[in-house]
Symmetry: C2
Subunit: 164 residues, 2 copies
Amino acid sequence: MKPLEYMAVADEAMTRIKKGAFLTAQTGERLNTMTIGWAMIGFVWQKPMFMVAVRDSRYTYAILENAADFTVSIPSGDLHDALMYCGTKSGRDVDKFTECGLKTANGRSVISPIIDTPGIHYECKIQYKTAMDPAFLDAAYDKLYPEKDYHTLYFGEIQSCYEL
Amino acid sequence: MKPLEYMAVADEAMTRIKKGAFLTAQTGERLNTMTIGWAMIGFVWQKPMFMVAVRDSRYTYAILENAADFTVSIPSGDLHDALMYCGTKSGRDVDKFTECGLKTANGRSVISPIIDTPGIHYECKIQYKTAMDPAFLDAAYDKLYPEKDYHTLYFGEIQSCYEL
């Protein structure tokens, strides 16, 4: 494990996230991972901060609403098939970890585990969340929400950033 | 003017923003700039996105609520005095541009001008905004809001990113 400076790798992280990364969250015995392609990284409320967006139709949303934290695992290897699977199937119906052969590893500083794969990992403690209000979204984005299942934006303080 | 890739310079931009940068917005004849120290950069809603946070007590807030866009000018030179002034005085009371000897230059792709100074500049079109709801903010941050003047988070699609 090699510690990384969270912002120094933001460019590489975002480039890879756009091709797919794993957002993993756990609360109690409920654990799930899903594929994300969007994120923001920066410094807000005097803290290093990572933002993810999750539609309220997602099983991960149900977990995040009760979780204290989340992790983002950005694989350096080719996990295309697993990313496709975890972006289209629901953790309500299948065990994505078994189906994709994904292993988890304990978070260093959060309850949620990471996906145990080479790449960049962010561990984030939820500090703020906001459910999107479409009244304040530019109408050009309506096409992203045909089912009206808007995202909730979760802001997590970055507790650890490292490479496996 | 040298075009920059918005994410490739995110690390340098955030490092400097933490020491102070100019957030500038214009609507009609109302123009103001203020100092920011927080920001997020990333990719959301399938677009390059820049997030800024503005307290509702700010004159810039009154402008942004009616503006289509904003710019962020991140000086490479030492503008410490101007950044201090623009972070503590209100554009309701003073003309910050005159007082600080700050010149503006037209935005390349937005209505709001930039601060005409060497550094990194982001021009952003507002796509989404959300007023913070303290009910969803970790109580550890209460100390940032003794006056209860919470931030509104503005998400602007990055239209241009360049160096002067």
